[in-house]
């Protein structure tokens, strides 16, 4: 039993690290949902495309630097997100589900485009951080773990500072609470919603770049990874930003424990059970907020 307990701490640690990435992905999904009532099923495909762009610009000799490549990828993805928002904005005003189906269409297009442009190759894309590792109380902590934690902390802190303290953040909260009233008050709905889409796409890129080093990059890796973010967002109630962070950590840790102690081959089934159980126990998500998704 003590052997199992000895395994427990590292499992929770690595689960929490992955959970941070799920959380960053989920934050983007929730931002888009809060601003426009659309669930962006293209989130993973957009981020996957960005990862490939970074790879294309850095892999070969004579490429531009890593940061420059990330900047290019961010610019492309933010532009894509704004186009998506532009196409679906009027549609989603009429019905939530219609806009959501539309994002599935965007996702399919981006998925196909990634395959057409970059082929079905499987490549490696590492973070430009020195390899380093240390042991603290039986925990192996690597430079990758530290990078993920630092980036997550920065992202979350910035996001909450902007949303809580700036005029833009107030506008975002106003629009997500009552779009009509905010328009009456003279807010530029399109600008605020566009910023939300762009920011969310950028968060997706960050999550993608951080997850790819642990596996490999193929045309479906990031989209598959982002599915866990959907679960995280649902656990958090889909309209609560703190909830999505908590949801990400819960999903990350729970899935890690499950695949170690029960079976790694039933991960998706476990995710399904987790979603259904959580939604029955906490109908409004772990941290419920007003203005959630439509419910029966």
């Amino acid at each position: 039993m003590s052997a199992a307990l000895q395994d427990l701490l590292p499992l929770i640690w690595t689960g929490a690290i992955t959970g941070c990435l799920y959380a960053i992905g989920a934050l983007g999904l929730v931002m888009i949902f809060k601003a426009t009532r659309v669930v962006n099923f293209a989130h993973g495909n957009m981020a996957g495309l960005a990862a490939f762009v970074v790879y294309a610009f850095t892999a070969h000799s004579g490429g531009i630097g890593w940061l420059a490549a990330v900047a290019v990828a961010l610019a492309i993805v933010v532009a894509l997100a704004l186009v998506t928002y532009g196409v679906l904005a009027r549609v989603s005003e009429r019905s939530d589900l219609r806009g959501t189906i539309g994002t599935l269409g965007i996702g399919l297009i981006l998925q196909g485009a990634t395959q057409v442009v970059f082929g079905a190759d499987i490549v490696n894309l590492d973070l430009p951080v020195p390899r380093w590792g240390t042991s603290v109380a039986g925990l192996r902590i690597t430079s990758y773990d530290v990078a993920v934690l630092v980036v997550t902390a920065l992202v979350v802190a910035t996001l909450f500072l902007v949303i809580e303290r700036t005029r833009l953040g107030i506008a975002f909260r106003a629009v997500s609470t009552n779009p009509f009233a905010s328009r009456v008050c003279g807010l530029n709905l399109f600008a605020v919603q566009g910023v939300a889409w762009g920011t969310a796409a950028g968060l997706g890129v960050i999550a993608a770049l951080l997850i790819v080093p642990t596996t490999f990059l193929s045309s479906t890796t990031v989209a598959t990874f982002m599915l866990q973010s959907f679960a995280a967002a649902v656990l958090g109630g889909f309209s609560s930003l703190p909830g999505s962070i908590l949801g990400g950590l819960v999903v990350g840790i729970a899935m890690n424990l499950f695949s170690y102690f029960v079976s790694p081959e039933l991960n998706s089934t476990f995710l399904l059970v987790l979603i259904l159980t959580a939604l029955n126990l906490f109908p409004g998500g772990i941290l419920p907020q007003r203005g959630g998704g439509s419910r029966a």
Binding site: T100, L266, L279, R295
Partner: protein, 328 residues
């Protein structure tokens, strides 16, 4: 039942249209019935699979129409029906004629089993839950072990009739089943239960006042949809003669939604065939352009979603745009 009336009025001419569609559907059926005598084996196979997929598309459209919900987990029930046929042939030695009704019943039961814990969910929550359901399909099939044939899957070779060409049976069974499902759906639209489901979708409170709760409506719509999907899966297994875990992924479910959206959510014969053909024939015709298939599907989905406020208007718009091009 005033609200039942308003539901009927919400789609003016629904009855007239369904009657008006009868000669056209009859013509379509006759055309489909004589196809094998005119076209080669490739087309007999292809159209057979089309018709099986059309039934699967109907299951998505049904849920959309009667439940008002989007499912991207329909591949689960498709796989259920398909493996029901394949495994019953392998273990019991019965043909699809025996296993298809079993598949339908199992589909309904498991549809209820999924709908019960998710009865309180709707909209995006249900969409994400069904997505998780679709993701679990391949690993659940593998969990069954050697009985389900593992990664390679199983062959479906036993034909119901002895002495008749198997290829023809693989064509005509889906045809007969598709016609039967469409006919049943047309009857369901006019039935008490059908009207009640539509009322519960459009005016939940009014429906509850009539003693018809939203939760019950959700369970009913989901169970029927799952049953239709299982029938579609059973037909698909028989028409394509093989089942494997790779055929039932999240993509399968998304493509079924594409088929349903492209058919404008139609529950009729023509619409279902357009949807089925779109998701069956496009990948075959574009076999050497494989990577472009998702792009084409995505564009089709977007076009319909952006243009289609109402099916009829969208269809007129599409027809204008295609300038009299083939519908499917």
């Amino acid at each position: 039942m005033p609200d039942g009336m308003s539901v009927a009025e919400a789609r003016p001419g629904a009855r007239a249209r369904s009657l008006g569609a009868l000669p056209r559907d009859g013509l379509l059926l006759v055309l489909l019935a004589i196809v094998p005598s005119m076209l080669g084996g490739f087309w007999i196979y292809g159209i057979g699979v089309c018709m099986a997929n059309a039934v699967a598309v109907l299951s998505v459209s049904f849920l959309l129409r009667y439940g008002g919900e989007v499912s991207i987990g329909q591949s689960f029930f498709l796989a259920l029906g398909a493996y029901c046929v394949a495994m019953m042939e392998r273990e019991v030695g019965v043909s699809v004629v025996v296993s298809l009704p079993v598949a339908a019943v199992v589909g309904v039961v498991l549809g209820l089993a999924f709908a019960w814990p998710s009865r309180a969910l709707s909209g995006i929550y249900l969409a994400v839950a069904t997505m998780a359901l679709a993701l679990a399909v391949p690993e659940l099939i593998l969990l069954l072990g050697p009985v389900a044939g593992g990664y390679e899957g199983l062959y479906v070779s036993r034909a119901p009739l002895v002495g008749v060409s198997v290829d023809l049976q693989r064509y005509y069974l889906p045809l007969v089943a598709l016609a039967a499902v469409v006919l049943l759906l047309a009857h369901f639209r006019r039935s008490r239960q059908g009207l009640a489901l539509l009322t519960a979708r459009d005016h939940p409170r009014a429906a509850e006042a009539f003693g018809f709760s939203r939760g019950y409506a959700r369970l009913a719509a989901f169970a029927i949809s799952a049953g239709i999907a299982a029938i579609g899966g059973a037909l698909l297994a028989f028409a394509a003669s093989t089942v494997s875990p790779n055929s039932y992924t999240l993509w399968t479910a998304i493509y079924l939604l594409v088929g349903s959206v492209v058919s404008l959510g139609s529950l009729g014969l023509f619409g279902a065939l357009v949807g089925g053909a779109f998701i069956t024939l496009v990948p075959q015709v574009l076999a050497s352009w494989g990577d472009w298939v998702p792009i084409l599907y995505g564009l089709a989905l977007l076009v319909v979603v952006v243009l289609g406020d109402r099916p009829a208007e969208a269809l007129t718009k599409l027809r204008k745009r295609l300038a009299g091009g083939r519908g499917g």
